[in-house]
Symmetry: C2
Subunit: 357 residues, 2 copies
Amino acid sequence: MFRSHDSYEKAFCYRLLLALSLFSVVASLGAEGGKEPILLEQAKQFFKPLPETMATAEFPTPPERVSLGKRLFFDPRLSADGMISCATCHRPALYGTDALPRSIGVEHRVNPRNAPTVLNAALQDWQHWRGDRANVEEQASKSVLGHGSFGNPNEEAVLAKLRALGYTPAFQSAFPEANEPLTLENFGKAIGAYERTLVSPSPFDNYLKGNTEALGPQAKKGLGIFIKTGCIACHNGVGVGGQALRKFGIKKNYWQATGSEVVDEGRYSITQNQTDKYVFKVPSLRNVAMTPPYFHDGSVTTLPKAIRIMAQVQLGKTLSQQQIKAIMVFLNSLTGELPADFQQAPLLPPKAFNALP
Amino acid sequence: MFRSHDSYEKAFCYRLLLALSLFSVVASLGAEGGKEPILLEQAKQFFKPLPETMATAEFPTPPERVSLGKRLFFDPRLSADGMISCATCHRPALYGTDALPRSIGVEHRVNPRNAPTVLNAALQDWQHWRGDRANVEEQASKSVLGHGSFGNPNEEAVLAKLRALGYTPAFQSAFPEANEPLTLENFGKAIGAYERTLVSPSPFDNYLKGNTEALGPQAKKGLGIFIKTGCIACHNGVGVGGQALRKFGIKKNYWQATGSEVVDEGRYSITQNQTDKYVFKVPSLRNVAMTPPYFHDGSVTTLPKAIRIMAQVQLGKTLSQQQIKAIMVFLNSLTGELPADFQQAPLLPPKAFNALP
């Protein structure tokens, strides 16, 4: 069963009220001009710097589990046609995306929505555009069975592949206390453990930690506009998004502004609640400058156009070219360092195939 | 026009005669036992250690060209469906292969033959199983237009993509003396320059350089058997193969031994010369233990089976399990270090899409 959008909406409203009351105090002090230290103090109310790891008590990241998860993440032999790995839609060279409007899975099956970056993804309150996967662990264990992603018919088919590829000892090391370490749930947990290490700290994080030199004047101006225009209503918190479900097209139908080929009803297609119509997860804006195309259907290819459309359809505002430019410079400050353990491929030795006779 | 197999055959025969005359001298001294330093001296007659780079006067590797070539190598946006890059068939995690029997290109088009590793590939006298591409540069520039690989319709389509993705300045830096740096030929040269840096030195190279401790007793025994059995007739030189075209199935039809689904006539399908029937490039055995499945059609999944079949169909010999095991241990000594610049993905910033308004 899925919770309706309403319950999130209430929690969101409280957060927004708190944020806006702070905002009203500082607005008169001239946030748009980027004056220090007012802007920094204001930013701290809406945003948080990245943690060093995204591990939790429920989802820890012991090294053996991370190491296994990394190999699984990059292993195309796990898909039905041997072509698709997690790294197909979440490529290191493309900052954890595939640069496609909508992702392509096994046997060239085109998926309904755009692949968001895997970097910092575990910080989100939901996974997937419709918010129908609870966490990165569930995302991984369901994708390996998805018709349009990995295309495996059932759990046993996946486990048989893992055994044949020689992964059994690695599962035993990664889950030493489990009676049966090699399970689909642990497959998801291992990939999730790896993904929980993929944090990409950016200049904006340095800024939030107090280094006011980390952003240039134009980025600070953009941050001020980002706050004052109201973008922070949805894009806030540690992920600068990723922690709310919201209707896309509050002031105007999104598909008219974006030229979308398909009208996607979003979360409504799962819950059948009218309040969920056109509701999607608010995407995190971390690394947004590196991860076009934009929106759930990848219908917009450039960042300035995406900014202009969001202001129009969500806030009913028309931004000037100068304002858009400043916001772009600010968003560029959200581009983080690519984690070394993401950029470097693992080795997938084919031991099982080459056992000595 | 393609040269016939005959001309290669003659050059090959001279080389083989020289090798065998050396062989006859040392054979009586007991190569199979792996006695030092006889085995090393013998090995030096047939093999050469890897060079540090595969650059040539015609195909140099200036850093700007290598850097550009690396980005091109990993960029899936260059293919017709945005899914395929050179690194799709030549994955770092899989030692420069795709672990598929036959590679899969754009729109899930299955290719006729298996993708060999890109590591050390530039050392080969020909590229492709039928020897129909002269060098890695030609391989790259033809693959980007191949129906079953990248699927681009023509040269202009590729150049338009390169421009749109913002590659023009990098081509200017990589080919500073060219009137028109952005050409398909230079596309091939840039990728070739990168590939010419992908050298993977192995324990066997250390051995050839005189470090007799680099191979264990079982590997030395395998090396001796490899020489004495006659594997070195084709698998010799710096690549331990890759430098001759030979009929597959000299003593017995290959497809009966391998269970191949399709009888591939090899080079004959290009030249229509009867002497080229079932003639393929002798593959390099460097990193062979890391790159199953085997043969031009990937019809054999394990190394011991591949060794047994090669002895049968090429040499008319039946190897014992112990001999196969020793050869396997020797072949494992050909597994090199993965080049750091291959294992680490480049960054492909989407600048062209996010130019400031």
